[in-house]
Subunit: 143 residues, 2 copies
DNA sequence: GTCAATCTGTTAGGTGTCTATCGGTTTCGG
DNA sequence: CCGAAACCGATAGACACCTAACAGATTGAC
């Protein structure tokens, strides 16, 4: 029998990521936040970042995009930015009390989303999926 | 030993899709096109679409977004739009000769990209990946 | 037969991302 | 020490995507 002529792998991957991202966006919006804000908050919370460049890399976006979000978050009172006295090129980004409150609200939504996403997948399934995704990333990594 | 506290599944998925999409974008750009244009062309080529709504669904975008791309593609001379005489609400979208030429150029790039993406994955790996991705889509599907 | 509901596609406005470029700051070679 | 290079973050402009609201065309209930 001829092979079933599947969907190109990239299309399948993109559709899945789009659906999952959309569901996550909705969950975070219902909790009063957004995906980029959540990623920034959790990065700031889990370990201190030396500078914005490092923070951008942790979040997986470009520095210019991060600036955009930090501006909005600063206006919303979630973070503060101040010059590092030791190196005046660097901006130190710090969570405010409001930022901390938002972090906890979004964490609840994020944990619930991850639980939903993993539903019905054994530990072995999850490990296998992580392995396959890692391989895909290697395959498309720039030479 | 404690479990290694992996990356949330959604983050892993999003990062992989972003990297793969980016690589695909670059490949298509080098061939003189773009990802949305490619998806529209292949949808039009593989089977006739009854209307734009169906086309948008095949591509995986909203109708309004499709309109945007069709406007650009019409300006670029890749497609033509005309009213269906049988139902004047419907726009019939058709490829021009230039659209067909672009389609073939992009197909070469797309096939090469898919080959690169699958590199090192056995048929069993690919089937397993497709199964796992399908499960994730089910998990996040709206109730 | 007429008018409201529905269907199709467009327009308007907003978000998130990118690249390219710039201004301010530090470092370091000569 | 001083000026070029490197570094950090911000700004400008662009693109793809979304939702909401709209206009033209058709259908169908009365």
């Amino acid at each position: 029998m001829p092979k079933p002529d599947r969907q190109p792998l990239g299309v399948d991957l993109a559709r899945t990521a789009k659906a999952a991202t959309r569901a996550f966006d909705d969950a975070l919006a219902a909790a009063g936040g957004s995906r980029p804000v959540w990623l920034i908050l959790i990065s700031l919370k889990t370990r201190a970042m030396a500078n914005q460049r490092e923070l951008a890399e942790a979040v997986g976006i470009q520095g210019a995009t991060l600036t955009h979000h930090l501006n909005a978050m600063e206006s919303a009172g979630l973070i503060t930015r101040r010059r590092d006295p030791a190196n005046r090129r660097v901006h130190l980004v710090e969570l405010t009390a409001a930022g901390d409150t938002t972090f906890h609200a979004l964490r609840t939504a994020a944990v619930e989303h991850d639980r939903r996403l993993r539903d019905g997948l054994s530990d072995a399934d999850q490990a296998e999926l992580a392995r396959l995704l890692a391989r895909l990333r290697e395959n498309v990594a720039p030479a």
